[in-house]
Subunit: 299 residues, 4 copies
Amino acid sequence: MPEPAIVLGANQYGKAEVRLVRIDRDGSRHSIIDLDVTSQLRGDFTAAHTEGDNTRIVATDTQKNTVFAFARDGVGAPEEFLLRLGRHFTAEFEWVTGGRWEAEQHTWNRIPVDGAGHDHSFVRGGTETRTAVVTFAGSEATVISGLRDLAVLKSAGSEFHGFVRDRYTTLAETDDRILATSVTARWRYGGLDLDFDRIFAEVRRLLLEAFAQTHSLALQQTLFEMGSRVLEGREEVEEIRFSMPNLHHFAVDLTPFGLDNPNEVFYAADRPYGLIEAAVVRDGARRDHPAWSGIAGFC
Amino acid sequence: MPEPAIVLGANQYGKAEVRLVRIDRDGSRHSIIDLDVTSQLRGDFTAAHTEGDNTRIVATDTQKNTVFAFARDGVGAPEEFLLRLGRHFTAEFEWVTGGRWEAEQHTWNRIPVDGAGHDHSFVRGGTETRTAVVTFAGSEATVISGLRDLAVLKSAGSEFHGFVRDRYTTLAETDDRILATSVTARWRYGGLDLDFDRIFAEVRRLLLEAFAQTHSLALQQTLFEMGSRVLEGREEVEEIRFSMPNLHHFAVDLTPFGLDNPNEVFYAADRPYGLIEAAVVRDGARRDHPAWSGIAGFC
Amino acid sequence: MPEPAIVLGANQYGKAEVRLVRIDRDGSRHSIIDLDVTSQLRGDFTAAHTEGDNTRIVATDTQKNTVFAFARDGVGAPEEFLLRLGRHFTAEFEWVTGGRWEAEQHTWNRIPVDGAGHDHSFVRGGTETRTAVVTFAGSEATVISGLRDLAVLKSAGSEFHGFVRDRYTTLAETDDRILATSVTARWRYGGLDLDFDRIFAEVRRLLLEAFAQTHSLALQQTLFEMGSRVLEGREEVEEIRFSMPNLHHFAVDLTPFGLDNPNEVFYAADRPYGLIEAAVVRDGARRDHPAWSGIAGFC
Amino acid sequence: MPEPAIVLGANQYGKAEVRLVRIDRDGSRHSIIDLDVTSQLRGDFTAAHTEGDNTRIVATDTQKNTVFAFARDGVGAPEEFLLRLGRHFTAEFEWVTGGRWEAEQHTWNRIPVDGAGHDHSFVRGGTETRTAVVTFAGSEATVISGLRDLAVLKSAGSEFHGFVRDRYTTLAETDDRILATSVTARWRYGGLDLDFDRIFAEVRRLLLEAFAQTHSLALQQTLFEMGSRVLEGREEVEEIRFSMPNLHHFAVDLTPFGLDNPNEVFYAADRPYGLIEAAVVRDGARRDHPAWSGIAGFC
């Protein structure tokens, strides 16, 4: 009996991390959009894999050129720009039946001079990065927006007790600990015709407020509250997924030095760290949307 | 009509990047195993999310302790160590219905002294990292082994032509280019009772040989050949997935300086880069195994 | 004739990157100081090197403990905290004749909730890091403050022309380019009894304003203007040194696609990058102060 | 009385991290040299700083072009390539009175196929990077070679005791610990007409052997022995400087789990870490050579 044949499975290809900076000029008043754009095509590229036949290969260099050329007409919200790219590639080449377009946006703020923001001088802002992923399956598009590396910390209002104690448990219970995390969140929209910039700002605000206001008995509880606030506040969002490390801050034992430590002196550990990941969804919404495929760190 | 309720979706939690170093002592001849271990539990943790009720929470600190305690009995292949951890947690706590255990292994070679490897002195080896992911769904375990950051380059035997030319295409065709990539590969085994260390070494050898020996008309072709060799050579492997950047090396135009450049002087670009991702599978094998969920960069 | 002997040269040792987080509690209103502290002792440690005799070694673990213990009494400006550490070690151990204490400070802002900053919840701020280096030579201390990774960009008001043209020159002249850099600046104070937090905020403001307001014919010119503003504005500063990469943003040639590009679409390159380094000093001030030794990237 | 004037201090500028890959073809047998090259000019560039007058500016783009053009004639040892660059710039432009040229070299090994190294396929080797810095002061050149990130570990033959005990000391003495470090070493040659590749390989071997063979009572002792071996073995080397972190591996306390730990299970900590820095020099050799200026982490 012959061996089963070896065949090509799922595949995609494209150009990653195209560093696009777009200056919009409204007279002497400039604005800036700074994106890392990744374009990946899906479809029937079997011949390239099995025979090195590139007849159907839209070169990754061409995908890069297309990103720059499309930026000539303006960029707008990253989600909108990715939707334009996706429509182009799926419409232009019949064997391109879908794809994945991704952007990371870096923030620039105006430099304050004499009490006002400068016309054309900017300083990089924030530590977090805004993210957007648009997938096309045929002509159907799905948008997942998000942010990563939003570092937050609260020095009160966090407890952790009542957990399982087994042979390997040594952790003490506490009713006063530092809670710190670096939020990665991604949320899937139900539609496409949205004011993505405004909703992003709103979601970011809701996430920060929920983190600040939740009296936390577990990082899981804080996560769920953050997700719930977003779903309550923005009906456009179908589900939101989080990957949140628990960045441990350990109170230092100062008693060997004859000192107490009323939760004031902490050692911030690098590794290991707790890692809490969960989705918060509307009841009845789809929970296994294929647009999540390939996004790291989301269950 | 009331709003649909907001509920918890898929979730997992645990301790990430436990930096475990295990010294095995066979008399004065030592050996070293160096792992980053991540443990994540899945099951019913709803109350922790919705009420901050930690009754079912096995603390991430406890998971870390368990990693260290289990290492007392030896570690062995990372896959075997992760299987031991998974069996423990799913057997010990009835509401833990599964989980994900991951390891990255760093290589140490003996320092050569007087023509022989030293007994207890080591130098970090290689640039790539060996990876292992074990998932449990109930008592059923799946092993995905791999490696990442295996940087390879060939200075001959690579062409790229015959691709689509559209309005945005400027790339010249070439029959002689540098082909360079940094291989991330992960392969799923059909079974569990395997000599993981030996198979890993074999797969690594097959990948390198295939890269070297394939006359490449496209990085996709090289990828498919690498995957085919592994599936042909190791029947234990059901499928293998690759994420391979095309690390561009551009021949520098020296004509402005009155010089030719017979493919000898190259500029190695950082970004953007091509990105080629594909699975190579046995015909009939499962293509959508849930063990792949959450692994970055695999379609 | 015998070989000249081999001897110990300059040396220092200590603990690096102690991750200290200090919470100050004024009732329910908290504030946070987040530092990476490095402590290095200088003196006569010859016996440890040549004989493994640790009689004079203040263990690096002890140096770490001292950092945490001293934080019990409050931290204040990083420069003040480092001065306290330096005085302690040089006073306590007669063979410790000096040393180097360094800190990097991470910024946290209050999370805005209902229009006001939250009492005990913070979000990481800014992309740049504040730095401080204190050196002791005997009982004499020198303070060098600074910042790194302050990314700024201007989309107008930058030209570059009139440079040397030789056989290897291909760069076109331009009277309109993006100027972008990531400022690392360090400045040496003439004294010690200073309001370091207030001066830091002032220097940062002066640097940003000078970058924004200077019509730039060369990044060197911008650098010199930034330094001059600081020396003019803060008499406490004796000299200031800069390491400023020229982060190239190349206007993309869109003509192959039938498009013009009126300086709106740019490609941000990673490497190579220009690198401009210079000191700006008061005439007559010391130019070779040994406190600069070992600081990377400053000539 | 007028304020003292503000003037330009020391300065240099150039192009950093030119990613040069040179393929040498000896028939079908290729070899590869992979360098990051940085070129920085010193001299009188005052007008560029104070007036934006670029008359004397050799553009950083031109410096980059020169790197690529010079590679057309072959590269050889990185030190030799940097010397060629330095001679060119200091000879060509009278106001260029010196400079600093730096390279980092990445290692590639032949992929083994059928028991032999492949003709034109390579795999990235080693974890460490070879470094070279050439400075010109006028026509006088100085070469400092080195390596960084050479990670080594020994699991026996390391003790640490007899250190100072003060109020802040809690560390226990030990006669059996893991000793691990990541060596950065740089050595200054007395001459220029040297077989740099061969000496580099020899120095690397001597460093590894000394680390392995030294029974260590302190990392300082290991460092000094490593330096002594190099100076004893290679008369071309005048002095060698080290920056060596003490990468702590803590034996995990398993007694809470009813287990002993005979130095077999360790936790590898990230931060803080010890940091040991020292020079080892020939008696009578110059100890304050200006070529060391601006190299990070060397006292």
